[in-house]
Symmetry: C2
Subunit: 347 residues, 2 copies
DNA sequence: ATGAAAGCGCTAACAA
DNA sequence: TTGTTAGCGCTTTCAT
């Protein structure tokens, strides 16, 4: 592999001049610049970012620690982050933790620090436990409060609590007496935030707050929750904390002979691409992954490049309720009509 | 930041000894090892991988170039790759290309090479065009033939062609005269491979090969395709190249008054998590993302660590057809029965 | 506008 | 079992 010294020799200049050219520094004559470029092309020279990083102390890289789990949310967020990072001109290091616990995050962060990343994104961490490492680069917590001490910590989120409120309010506005909630695992911030939003919406209107039905984000867990909910004739409205769970809930309801939305309304949260095409099309609240990632990265890069400046607050993201066909006013309680209806083909 | 020299001084040993300890090299007495570790802890020392890479010429990092698009397939594959990389002990650099064209791939690869990655994974590239760069590290092409010259190229895939055959055969086995296909964009290898598999299955049984209906992997495009297909009463079986499209197809069919699977059978490809819970539950072929990623990375790491050795062939992955409720034998063509049926509530 | 010298923090090759 | 001596390829600082 040719080095800058080889290029310098061929171009008849010093190594520093080659460095200037490749860093777009001023004070290089157009003629020399051209000569250097030609020499580089001729040799097939490529900048060695490793050496550059060692010498300059900066890698122009940001690291993200993400959940190694599948599932629509985390996967989509990762893709959004990756795009947002690319747009900032930084390179991206990814390390996953099996389940987002403090120990896993600590080792992930340590490994990123060893790689010399200039900034870190912690995407949707799970547990609460504080991590006891000191970090000397800015850290962005996406969807959670800071979990450890860093020179400068930033936070953004897709706004789980507000999204949950919007979903619950929609159901209440439709006339439902209360709303049941199928939640994600309590270990997740996202799950807890949504529970908070749902509860707040109910309490604000002084509605009874039914017990939370626990899921794990999967459609299968939504299905299980739906079977449980289907046993209770008083259930007319369900807010599932994720679209996948909502789809499972609907399936269980239909199989139990409850019509959606005539008997029970269901709203999800995510607005995953298929939500508009399932039967019935799912009413849901869109999760602004792209906007959150872009916004978060803007803050992070700002913090990286302006040490000293104070940290701007994250802008609030829009809440977008998408009303489709899985929600409707509650059934008028006319006895005798609830039985023996023709229902959608199931099983 | 403390350096290995600081640790060495505090522990009363040479820098090389510190290096030995942190690389688990032999020939270090237990006592010295402990002293070094203590000193490192006391100082909060962390290995500087950048310096290590510069000195050793290896980064222990693999780079992956991926599509910056959302969509179940690419996103899930990225997560699988990321997990597989982690399991090998390598770090991961990710760079996305907006649309997988040769130019984008070339610049992505160049940037990875500058970062000094030890190996590269090209995940689901799109176009055919050859890329004209020489690469001096092993490259794994996931789901496509090699697109450029590299010291050593490897390939694996989830087996699109076989998966498509399995889907088509299932429908044919059910008694359908032929199978219509809703394909992904022709630019994608995955789309072309599936078309091939579908066509081969039909030709093998000497069935007529209907024109391909083009989609773009999205549920929306599947919906559009479904509307088109619904106009043709002869259509009794549809194979969609992706689950999202299949869900769109089903939706369009139901809205047009065609029952699924009584009038038309639909099979997808992916087996995304919600497939089992949509209405009707979707028959599909599972895409072995995890296995493909793991298998591919095993090969790549082998190539990285055994330059010289010849490249093992990738093992064939299992084909798993998941039969659910969206497929059934074709309707017996009894005139007069196809009309006026009660259909599932829609829109 | 250009160059010389001195490292960045580590490992490689050899010596002791 | 441990230490010494040279770099890895670049950027920095300071001259010129």
């Amino acid at each position: 592999m040719p080095s800058s010294a080889d290029v310098a020799r061929l171009a008849g200049v010093s190594r520093k001049t080659v460095s200037r050219v490749f860093n777009d520094e001023p004070y290089v004559s157009a003629e020399v610049r051209r000569r250097v470029m030609d020499a580089a092309d001729a040799l097939g020279y490529r900048l060695n970012q490793t050496a550059r990083a060692l010498a300059s102390g900066r890698t122009r890289t940001v690291g993200v620690v993400t959940l190694g789990t599948p599932g629509y949310g985390p996967a989509t967020l990762l893709v959004s982050i990756e795009r947002a990072v690319r747009d900032t001109g930084y390179a991206l290091h990814v390390v996953s933790t099996m389940d987002g616990d403090p120990a896993g995050i600590a080792s992930a962060v340590t490994s990123l620090l060893e790689q010399g990343v200039d900034g870190i994104v912690i995407s949707e961490p799970v547990d609460e436990g504080k991590v006891s490492i000191r970090v000397d680069v800015p850290v962005l917590f996406l969807g959670a409060p800071p979990a450890f001490a860093a020179v400068r910590t930033l936070t953004t989120s897709t706004g789980s609590e507000l999204l949950a409120r919007a979903a619950t309010d929609h159901l209440l506005d439709l006339g439902h007496a209360t709303v049941h909630h199928v939640a994600g695992p309590r270990r997740w911030y996202a799950a807890r935030d949504r529970i908070e939003g749902w509860r707040a919406a109910l309490e604000e209107r002084r509605r009874i707050v039914p017990p939370v039905v626990a899921g794990d984000w999967s459609a299968a867990s939504g299905y299980a929750a739906g079977r449980e909910l289907a046993r209770d004739d008083d259930v007319t409205a369900v807010f599932a904390a994720g679209d996948e769970m909502a789809i499972g809930v609907i399936r269980a309801l239909l199989e139990a002979g409850r019509r959606v939305p005539e008997d029970v309304s269901v709203v999800g949260l995510d607005d995953m691409p298929v939500a508009a095409y399932v039967t019935p099309p799912l009413t849901t609240v869109r999760q602004p992954f792209d906007a959150a990632a872009r916004e978060g990265l803007k803050l992070l890069v700002h913090a990286i490049e302006n040490p000293g400046a104070d940290l701007p607050k994250a802008a609030a993201l829009p809440v977008e309720l998408v009303v489709r066909a899985s929600t409707a006013p509650p059934p008028s309680r006319t006895p005798g009509l609830a039985q023996g209806e023709v229902s959608c083909p199931t099983a």
